[in-house]
Symmetry: C2
Subunit: 288 residues, 2 copies
């Protein structure tokens, strides 16, 4: 039996690759893609062995990755899972180098910003690079013993670097939510019993109270919304697509009734997927 193939955006050692191993398991074959579009294309393509995808959709500090919301709409893929990765920025250097010898730290601007207090405490200089895993790769190529990179623990493995300090991030509530993508929806046995989340996208007529009416189909059934996001509809001035995640399965009674209720007045509605919920609260308490 062949190993599962998973496409992710970034270089080997990227946080997305780490999340792919944590979510799908150590045995998967990861496929690095340069752009988010390429991940969607890889998963969409008909081929002998199906390719799955894993994409970041929101960071707890920086907010939603809006590009991936827009791309969901352009492709006919299904969300089959979610995973919350604790973003732990590791300071890494060539093997044998000591922390006192480091003079500069290379990484993506957002990673550097998220570790600013800890970097200043060490009194080392920040150097901006295109991405986190890429700066680990560059460090290996240069062979510079006075330079360090900020990247995932996985990047240290890939580029044979030594971790001098982990959890360099100043704010521990730093999580990225990933969604798992596939060509077919996830089939489940017990939509009523288990703990699912459903993602949908819809448009509304531009009239007073429209969004209130849309939310009422969930509120009147005591369905919990975990996320709402709006994105402009290109060409329709100041009109929006709404992305909602709610607790429950779309084949369960209340979820399915809420969706058909919403369809009565939403000009457009698509169910992106129902999938087992990955609980954040427990994830958070485990690691802090």
């Amino acid at each position: 039996m062949k190993n599962l193939q998973v496409a992710f955006q970034g270089e080997p050692g990227a946080y997305s690759e780490l999340a792919a191993f944590e979510y799908y398991g150590d045995q998967v074959v990861t496929i690095p893609c340069e752009t988010f579009e390429e991940v969607f294309a890889a998963v969409s393509e008909e081929q002998e062995q199906e390719i799955y995808g894993l994409l970041p959709i929101e960071n707890s500090l920086a907010g939603s990755i809006h590009r991936n919301y827009d791309l969901m709409l352009r492709h006919e893929l299904h969300i089959i899972g979610e995973y919350h990765l604790r973003v732990a920025h590791c300071l890494m250097a060539l093997p044998g180098v000591k922390l006192e010898e480091i003079e500069s730290v290379h990484s993506h601007p957002q990673a550097l910003a998220q570790c600013e207090v800890n970097i200043n405490r060490l009194g080392i200089q920040q150097v901006v690079e295109a991405d986190t895993a890429g700066s680990a790769r560059l460090l290996r190529e240069w062979g510079d013993p006075q330079a360090a990179a900020l990247a995932s623990s996985r990047a240290a493995e890939v580029y044979d670097l030594e971790i001098l300090a982990d959890h360099m991030e100043d704010n521990p509530a730093n999580y990225t939510r990933f969604i798992a993508l596939a060509r077919d929806p996830l089939s489940v046995n017990s939509p009523e019993d288990d703990d699912y989340k459903t993602s949908i996208v819809f448009s509304l007529h531009n009239q007073p109270g429209a969004l209130f009416k849309a939310l009422s189909v969930f509120a009147l059934r005591d369905i919990d919304l975990t996320k709402i996001e709006s994105r402009p509809i290109p060409g329709q001035l100041w009109e929006y697509m709404f992305y909602i995640d709610f607790a429950g399965h779309y084949h369960a009674q209340s979820g399915s009734r809420a969706i058909s209720n919403l369809k009565e007045f939403a000009p457009f509605l698509r169910t992106l997927g129902s999938y087992p919920r990955h609980h954040l609260k427990s994830v958070y308490s485990e690691t802090t």
Copy 2:
């Protein structure tokens, strides 16, 4: 009497500067700032002559400028107006150069992307630069007769370039909404009668139906919402600040009652400002 001073983000000739002249009038003195933070800082500072600000908050194709939502919350400024700028990308070159002589076009990646069809029709090469006005400035510095820049009509004036083609954008529904900022709120005489919009930001307890309840304070009073945006609260995992724009003034009866109703259960609420509405529909039909 001294001229009004207006801080904007970008170089002279930026779309934000063009919007500042269109909104505040030709007589204003514009103050270019490198970052959005600097605009907030310039407007916040106590000084003899007050400085106003003008900041982009949303583009009809690309979506919200989330950074400015986050910065609104960190500063105690007031929104005193809004302006919808039709984004018209002009192709400009050194005076006397003909369109047939152009071999490359320089601009910000988003401007290039928005003109892709028209650029390909001309068969010229795209070159990415840091911003639109900056590429007009570079063109003037280089003196290259085979290069063009994509920027605002204002950039052509500032850098003494000639416009070879206007409205290079592929999609005419390309508007940016700007907000005008000041240290003090706008005082008005007739909050009930005139046509206002109000912007507020609030948090909610993380419980089922919370957002539905929040929207009900507007829906039950037939108050039209024009925009909703959510942003993560750093350090509070998957909790959000909600930004809402609604039709009406906060000193008018229904607006003021909706806000005090919302305050009954929102742990945090701040009114960012009430200001005359700039109607989009009429703007749109005027120019298409």
